[in-house]
Amino acid sequence: MSEADAVAAVLWLGATMYAVFGGADFGAGFWALVAGGGERGTRPRELIAWAIGPVWEANHVWLIFVLVVLWTAFSGAFAAIMSTLFIPLCLAALGIVLRGSGFAFQRVVTGAGERRLAEAAFAISSVLTPFFMGTVVGGIASGRVPTGNAQGDAVTSWLNPVSLLIGVLFVATGAYIAAVFLVSDARRYGDPELERYFANRALGAAVAAGAVAFAGIFVLRADARYIYDGLTSEALPLVLASAAFGLGALVLLWRGARRGVRPLAVGAVVAVIWGWGAAQYPYLLPKTLKIADGAAPSETLTAVLIVFGVAVAVVLPSLGLLYTLSQRSVLEEEAEG
């Protein structure tokens, strides 16, 4: 594995973290949107706000990480993606700001009308943002992003079958992961009724995401042949693993199991993302830019890898400390209760 491949792997790792944790955040917004108005939707929405609250918008850190590594290590690809896919990326950025403000606003406004507006801004942008990010990924995967400053088509680069498919898939997987997480959140919240509510929705979302993914095979075959070929050859084990994890999670959800659903659901998503990476390898932008050709000079790549190493050494223990503390406090509170 070359240095450039290693940095690409780091990039992929960041994308995976964002897809899982950021995806769960966006998915929670999706459930807030479909929870229904008035009294009916209040309780699920309360749980969602409670579950997101502690890490409000912190998961965008992963997105920043991906962008920074991309522009440092693969500046040319970054410039090409950001200029060609200008429209969906602007809309995604807009969604991020709206979402963050909407969520924050919910807590401070007092009027019912304003509150509903804030909730709507939060919920709608939670759906639109991952959708547009999906169209961006679709544009890249289907080879519609040529190198250079805005050389690709400003519209068809993201309004095409693959982009629409991946956009919908992002929303569906986000909703799926969020529902799975919310099941355990509802359990910690002490609300068996909501636990069932989200378990049912997790099942529904799992079936929907699976169906979209299955349909996607045909879309990719017609519109992104390179990725299709990759997914059915080198990346086939990962695709199968994803399907197996997904089915396993489905069975566990069906049987109302308390453990194992979350790791399996996350595993299914992670396997798909790495499957995509494997299918696209060695291209950064399929058929136009290879990882090795688009990479920064070795000095920069080394610097990025060193920073990443230090980050792992510093951030992981700190996260561990935080996790230990939060677990301990949960135990204390249970003991008090």
């Binding site: 918008e57 850190v61 040319g76 970054f78 950001m82 403000s101 920073v307 980050a311």
Partner: protein
């Protein structure tokens, strides 16, 4: 981009310096067993969390903009300056995690252990500021790469890029600015409270801690800023000429305070003969490079604005030093803040004026560098995106940031209101711990 950065710079300053104020209050509280100081530290940690969360959102948008607006700039030089941002990411992560731990630890860790979990926040804030400002310094004094004859970037050295000539003065200048802005801003909030008659110990401490920090930082800032200006006269003479509106290269250049900048020199304003030369080289014989040293298409635009921005920044800093002296004198004589309501009124406006100075300084460094985005290397117009619709997205961004600004202020006000009536729960802020499960209502 200018607007988003201008907004982010305020939040980032709070993110850098506010944790330090919080820790000082925490230290005083522990040292003197002062519950009021501890309560202040606890509240400030929650305010820090809110500004941090909003900063995270604006930071995300900024990293989008690097590509959305400046693909040529990032595409060409990303591999040179990007490492600094990667390092900043590392500090950002650390800051986020330790803010969580710190807020978490209020009721769960023993006093001093808890205090030490706050220290990494301060260090990460400083480190983050260093890495980001190093990139801006690099734009002013690009280093750590070579341009091949075909214009491609070669011989990249990330360390040279980070430690460029301007890092040495720009980074301390910005970090001090962050402490100054945060200090005066927080103090002004409590000054307003005291003017409204809330003169309890809580308000006194809330005023004194940040104001003391800011008043110590201000004279240092004046000296650092002076060094920076003199370095700019050497490193970026055209920017300096723009700041002082020096049209022709010559000696015995007069200093003008304000006035209108025209092609024949400054009209109006207060003239101090020979003083500009003196400031640059300690002698009126010093030669100051004028705008005529470069062709007109390499000169910065809007010279009057540039000149005014620089003078406003220096003027405000001078006034703030005066405020510091007032406080220092009163404290030295009677161990108390000045009795005069004018002191409180001055403090109440110091926060906003410090922000004005911050934005002016930012205008000086950014507008003064024009027409270059990377000094003497890449022009701004060559860095911009070819995508259409930039103006539409810019206007949307303006609207959004206005909304975001209002939201932030509203949240903080709502928190202050609740604090005046009752204690706010840990879980009401981002990065706070999860509250205990709600007791289930009988259904």
């Amino acid at each position: 981009m200018a607007l988003t950065l201008g907004f982010h710079i305020i939040l980032a300053s709070l993110g850098v310096a506010f944790p330090a104020m919080m820790l000082i209050a925490n230290y005083i509280g522990l040292r003197r067993k002062d519950p009021v100081a501890l309560e202040l530290a606890q509240r400030w940690s929650k305010v820090a969390a809110v500004t941090f969360a909003v900063g995270a959102v604006t930071g995300t948008v900024l990293s989008f903009e690097f590509g959305l607006l400046w693909p040529e700039f990032t595409g060409k030089f990303g591999e040179v300056f990007g490492t600094a941002f990667a390092i900043e990411g590392l500090f950002f992560f650390t800051e986020a995690i330790f803010i969580s731990i710190y807020i978490f630890g209020w009721k769960r860790l023993s006093g001093w252990v808890h205090f030490w979990t706050g220290v990494p926040i301060v260090i990460a804030g400083l480190g983050g500021a260093f890495s980001v400002v190093a990139v801006n310094s690099w734009m002013n004094q690009p280093d750590g790469f070579k341009l091949a004859s075909d214009g491609t970037v070669t011989n990249v050295d990330p360390l040279d890029a980070i430690f460029n000539r301007a890092t040495g003065y720009e980074v301390p200048h910005m970090i001090l600015a962050a402490y100054l802005v945060t200090g005066f801003l927080v103090a002004s909030v409590y000054a307003v409270g005291m003017l409204r008659g809330r003169r309890d110990r809580h308000h006194r401490l809330g005023l004194l801690i940040p104001l003391t920090v800011a008043c110590i930082a201000t004279p240092i800032q004046f000296a650092v800023g002076d060094t920076a200006a003199r370095s700019i006269a050497d490193d970026q003479p055209v920017k300096f000429a723009g700041m002082e509106c020096v049209q022709k290269t010559s000696t015995h250049v007069p200093e003008y305070i304000f006035g209108r900048c025209t092609s024949e020199g400054v009209k109006g304003g207060i003239k101090i003969p020979g003083f500009d030369s003196f400031l640059v080289g300690w002698s009126t014989d010093t030669k100051v490079t004028g705008l005529d040293s470069v062709p007109s298409d390499a000169r910065p635009p809007a010279n009057t604005m540039l000149h005014w921005a620089f003078d406003t920044m220096v003027g405000i800093c001078t006034l703030l030093i005066g405020l510091g002296l007032w406080l220092g004198l009163s404290w030295f004589r009677k161990r108390d803040i000045p009795k005069s309501p004018w002191f409180l009124r001055a403090t109440a406006v110091s926060g906003l004026s410090a922000i004005v100075a911050l934005e002016c300084g930012w205008i000086v460094t950014e507008v003064g560098r024009q027409p270059w985005v990377v000094y003497n290397t890449m022009r701004t117009k060559d860095a911009v995106t070819d995508a259409s619709g930039v103006w539409v997205s810019l206007s949307i961004v303006v609207l959004l940031y206005t909304a975001l600004g209002i939201v932030t202020v509203l949240i903080l006000r709502a928190m202050a209101r609740r604090w005046r009536t009752a204690e706010i729960g840990d879980a009401d802020v981002p990065y706070g711990p999860s509250p205990a499960p709600r007791a289930k209502e009988p259904s």
